[in-house]
Amino acid sequence: MTSNGIARLDRAKDGRLVAGVCAGLAGHLGLEPLAVRLAFVALLAAGPYGYAAYIAFWLLLPERDEPKGRRDLLQLVVYALLAAGLSVVTGVSGVAQLALWPALVIGVGAALLWQQTDRRQRERWSTLTRGMWWRGLLGMLLVVSGIGGFFVQKVSPQQIPQVLLATAIILTGVTVILTPWLVKLWQELDAERAERVRSQERAEVAAHIHDSVLHTLTLIQRRAHDPKEVARLARSQERELRAWLYQPKSDSSQLFAAAVKEVSAEVEDTHGVPVEVVCVGDCPLDERVSAMVQAAREALVNAAKYSEAPAISVYAEVTQEGLEVFVRDRGKGFDLDGIPADRMGVRGSIIGRMERHGGTARVRSAPGEGTEIRLELKK
C-alpha cells in the first residue's frame, strides 16, 4: 500500500497461489482475490491466451517487497481442477480458437500500457477525466464486439467483408481507448519540460542572488557605521541587479549606449553620486564615438567632484544626424571664464577632445544654477 491508499501494481509474495499475479492485481484494483482468480480461470479455460496473459504479467510485474507467505495448496488444487474442467468443456465445444491472436495482442498491449504509465499519472487520469472512462468503456465494448465477430463467424472468402468490419471495429475501439491517453501523455511531457526549464531558471537566479546580493548585504552590515559607503554599495548592487534583470546582454566595448552606461556606473562607484542615465538609440563605437564617451566621462567626473549636486543626469541620444550627450547637475555651478587657463578638465579633456574629433562641446553654467554640458558629434 502506498501513502495515498492505492497499491501499486505488482506481484504478491504473501498470499500467492502460483506467482502472485492474481493477488497482486486484486490488491491494485481493490477487488477480492477470489474474483480475479475466477476471471483468470475463465480466461485459461477459454484458450491458450489466458496462459499467455498470466505469463506476461508474471514477467512484467515486479515482485512486491514483502516476506514470502506459504501457499494454500488446497485452494490451488481447487482452482486448477476448475480450470481443467472448464477447459475440457470449451475444448470439446471448440470455442474461441479464432479469437486467439487479436485477443492476445490486445491483452498484452493493454497490460504493457498500464504497466508503463506511472501510478500517479493513472490517478490523474481517473480523477481528472471521469468522462474518459465512458470513452474507455465504449472502446472496450467495440473491441469485445469485434472479437465477438471472430467468435461467431468461421471465416470463408464470402465473409471477408464481415472480418474486415470486425477488424475495423476493433481498431476503432483501440483508438477510442488510447487517443485521449496518448494526448494526455503528450501534454504532460510538455508540462514536465516547461517545469524543468523553470527550475533551471530558478537555480540560475538563486546562484546570482547568492553571488551578488547576499555578498553585498554582508558588506553593508560590516560597514554599517559608514553611511556613504553603505549607500555606494547599495547603489552599485542595485545597478548590477537591474542590468542583470532588465537589460539585454550588451558588450560595452561594442556599443555607444552601453559604453555611456559603463562610464556613468564607474563615476557613480568612484565618487558616490547617483547618476541617472537615459539613452535613446544606439550605434557602434568607433574612434570618434569613443572619444565622445571619454569626454562625457570627464564631464561626469567634474560634476561629481565639484558641483556638490545630489545627483547627475545623463542623456545620450543617437539620431540620423548625429550623437548628443547631455550631462546635467543641479549643483552650485561655476563661471567658465573664471576658470584658470591651466585647469585642464573642462577646456582640454572635454572641449578640446570634442573639437579634435570634429565635434563640439558647450558648457552652460551659472553660479547657483547648476551645470549642463552638451556634447555633439555629427555623423
Binding site: E276, V278, V280, E317
Partner: protein, 208 residues
C-alpha cells in the same frame, strides 16, 4: 487635499511612501494585490492611485483593466526599468510613470499633477517614448497618432535630460501649462497609437 490609495505588495514600501508624502496628500486606503486593490478603490473612490507595476494577481495592468474607465487617475510606480513594463502600464491607462527612487516632495508634486489630469513622465519614460516614436522604417498609419510633433519631441528630450516642467517652460519660452499640454498629448498618443514598436512591447506582455 488629494485622496490617494497606495497599491504595492511590499508593506515596508507603503509605510515608507506614506511617511514621505506631503501634508496635502491623504492616504485613504492601501492594497497589496490586484483583488484587494480593486476592492479598496471601489470603496474609497480616491482621486489618485499610486500603482505598483509588479503585483501578485496580474500586475498593475490588471488593476487598470478592471477599474478603468473611472474618474480615479493612476500614477504607476515601479523599480522596473524594463521598457515593456513601463510602456505597458501607461498604455493600460496610467497617467504617468515614476521610479521608486523618486524623492518624497517630487512624488507629492507628481500626485498633485496627476490629480489635476496632467501626465507625469520620468526621464526614463521620456527616453522610452522617444525611442519608440523615433524615426524608423516602420510605416506610419495615422500621422495624427503615430508621430510626435517637433515641439513634443523637444519637451520630451528636456524631460529626459532631467529638466523640471518649470525649467522646460523657461528653456522653450513657453508657459508651464503649455508644457503640460504637450506632455498630455504625448501620453494620449502613447496610449492610442498602434505603432509597430508599441504593439511589439505591448504584445510581449499580452496587453493588447
Amino acid at each position: 487635499m488629494t485622496r490617494v490609495v497606495l497599491v504595492d505588495d511590499h508593506q515596508m514600501f507603503r509605510t515608507g511612501v506614506k511617511a514621505e508624502l506631503g501634508p496635502q496628500i491623504e492616504v485613504v486606503g492601501e492594497a497589496a494585490d490586484v483583488d484587494e486593490a480593486v476592492a479598496v478603490i471601489g470603496e474609497t473612490r480616491p482621486e489618485v492611485v499610486l500603482l505598483d507595476v509588479h503585483l501578485p494577481g496580474g500586475g498593475g495592468v490588471e488593476v487598470l483593466r478592471r477599474v478603468l474607465p473611472s474618474p480615479t487617475r493612476f500614477l504607476a510606480l515601479s523599480v522596473s526599468d524594463a521598457a515593456e513594463d513601463v510602456i505597458g502600464v501607461v498604455r493600460g491607462g496610467a497617467r504617468g510613470y515614476v521610479t521608486k527612487t523618486i524623492s518624497g516632495p517630487e512624488l507629492t508634486d507628481a500626485i498633485g499633477r496627476v490629480a489635476e489630469g496632467d501626465a507625469v513622465f520620468s526621464p526614463r519614460l521620456a527616453g522610452f517614448v522617444l525611442d519608440a516614436f523615433s524615426a524608423t522604417a516602420a510605416p506610419v498609419a495615422d500621422p495624427e497618432l503615430d508621430q510626435l510633433t517637433a515641439r513634443e519631441r523637444e519637451v520630451l528630450r528636456l524631460i529626459a535630460r532631467g529638466y523640471a516642467y518649470k525649467e522646460i517652460a523657461k528653456e522653450l519660452f513657453i508657459s508651464v501649462k503649455t508644457v503640460e499640454t504637450h506632455v498630455s498629448s504625448v501620453l494620449r498618443k502613447l496610449q492610442l497609437s498602434n505603432r509597430h514598436e508599441l504593439s511589439r512591447w505591448a504584445a510581449a506582455r499580452r496587453l493588447v
